[in-house]
Amino acid sequence: MPNSSGYRAVVSARNLTKRFGDFTAVDGISFEIPAGESFGLLGPNGAGKSTIMRMLGGVSRRTSGELEVMGLDPERQGPEVRAHLGVVPQQDNLDEELRVRDNLIIYGRYFGLPMSYLRPKSAELLEFAQLGDKAGARIGELSGGMKRRLTIARSLINDPGILLLDEPTTGLDPQARHVLWDRLFRLKERGTTLVLTTHYMDEAEQLCDRLIVVDRGRIMAGGSPAELIRAHSSREVLELRFGAGRNASAAGALAGLGERIEVLPDRILVYADDGEAVLGQAVARGLEPATSLVRRSSLEDVFLRLTGRSLID
């Protein structure tokens, strides 16, 4: 629908709510995603991110609120909406009874696509996923990274306008993650709208133009990664480790330094615009941390500030 800022949102949610019995998984969430944007849902496990994704795909019914995907209600027009969606679920659910190439072809058949399209398309996607030499392999023979790439290749079989990615790189090693990020960047450059959930702040910072921070089914904050960090954290963070059992007493001695202090089980975070200066003040107070590190604020710090909890427990 056209809105005040003039763009047409491809996804528009208003007061989206999902309850399972007494438990409210998604609690009155509203957001809009313009075409071509890369939009992130950042939050810990159980925050309601996957439930939102399932409602976008029309495979979970909302309890209340309004939802439009490309102008249609995915609950009432599920098959039509999903014809334009690509979905990468949190867990690879490849068809273990079919070979690698057949996974792509049969998935394309689910969209009603003809074989004359699917034969060249599946070959092209296997190359894109760097699985060209695995076409005839069984799924069980693939590594974790290969399965993930195949799942992403499969989600592209219908040339989707919107790609839903639920925790796309969870469980992958750093190299495999970077390969995957590169592929997602290419899709974004082609104008594909990306909607992704993640509990990795670096992933959100790398891939998202804009994101919402979700906790316990509610939106805690929203904006671009840089905006969120500016609004909810200091420029820099000083991380100090004093060793097990000594963090709490050291925290007392640090009182008054920086803008804010967070005591975590394994370390102390001091938020300040100049981390090195605060470190100097701490040493001047006679503190001797086992390790110290000054870094820029990240979305992890934003999340900690907003919820009082870490993203990864």
Binding site: R8, V10, A35, G36, G57, G58, V59, S60, R61, M70, G71, L72, E75, R76, Q77, G78, P79, E80, V81, R82, A83, H84, L85, V87, P89, Q91, N93, D95, E96, E97, L98, R99, D102, I106, Y107, R109, Y110, F111, G112, K121, E124, F128, L156, N158, D159, G161, I162, R186, L187, R190, G191, T192, T193
Partner: protein
């Protein structure tokens, strides 16, 4: 990588009835089932054919040697093997259809997550249900054909009517598969699936499968006659020896109603079954 998107277009709603549940593409589900069978599990398919054949050899030929001749549907004397063979075919149609529509659906839904895949595409739950029921019936058709050939080879099919046992078995399977899938929509845990087995085993043993209904007192007979398997056993038994009459049509009607009721139940419960 295909065309560059100039932003995602806005769609026009499809006004067909059931547009949210059905995309007229059950054949994709069928194509997947056939390819999966060819790639991975054809051995399981083959083993399913032997079950009723083994029962027939053991009980019909083995036990039958002790029993001798018994009265068939029209009162004529037939061998015990010829008496129980159609009943075993009905049982096999029931078991296969129930397995495919309950355990198999439950497993693919909750463990293999196969339907999760399908339902994230243009497919709707009705496409999946129709495709799975069709696959179950195709399998039932192949088993029934094989079993009927075995019966003929053993000299147990004595009338041309016996050929109609094949489509009749498919109808029996259809009735059980449609109702079975509807029932599966109410199941949330594996333990509940065991209740289905509790219902099937006594029905197999007591539905006049191995002896005539007349051994029971009147109230028990009524009870058995209300259950579906008895109608299947009688239907195939009458076709096997060519004793066809109004009762045959009654049994057929029972399954037509059962299949229709099962389809309605399954369609009403589709969201509960697939979109939890």
């Amino acid at each position: 990588m295909g065309p560059v998107h100039d932003g995602a277009p806005h769609l026009v709603p499809d006004g067909r009835p059931l547009a949210g549940l059905y995309s007229r593409n059950a054949r994709a589900v069928i194509a997947r089932g056939l390819l999966a069978t060819r790639t991975s599990n054809w051995t399981v398919m083959v083993s399913g054919f032997f079950e009723p054949v083994l029962y027939l050899l053991s009980m019909g030929i083995g036990l039958g040697a002790l029993v001798g001749e018994v009265a068939g549907p029209g009162g004529q004397e037939i061998s015990y093997a010829a008496y129980i063979a159609p009943a075993l075919l009905a049982v096999s149609a029931m078991n296969g259809a129930v397995y495919d529509s309950t355990w198999n659906v439950f497993f693919k839904l909750n463990f293999a997550k196969l339907y999760q895949n399908m339902l994230y595409t243009s497919l709707g739950p009705l496409d999946v249900a129709i495709g799975e029921i069709f696959l179950a019936l195709l399998r039932g058709f192949l088993y029934a054909t094989g079993f009927t050939v075995v019966m003929a080879a053993l000299g147990l099919a004595t009338s041309p009517w016996a050929l109609l046992m094949v489509p009749a078995s498919v109808l029996i399977a259809f009735g059980f598969a449609a109702v079975g899938m509807g029932i599966t929509s109410f199941m949330t845990r594996f333990q509940q699936m065991d209740w289905i087995g509790f219902a099937l085993l006594p029905m197999f043993l007591f539905s006049a499968t191995f002896y005539p209904l007349t051994v029971y007192p009147e109230p028990v007979r009524w009870f058995i006659q209300a259950l579906p398997l008895w109608h299947g056993v009688e239907l195939l038994r009458q076709l096997g020896v060519g004793q066809v009459g109004p009762a045959t049509l009654g049994h057929l009607a029972y399954y037509l109603v059962m299949a229709a009721a099962g389809l309605v139940l399954t369609t009403v419960r589709l969201r509960a079954l697939f979109l939890r």
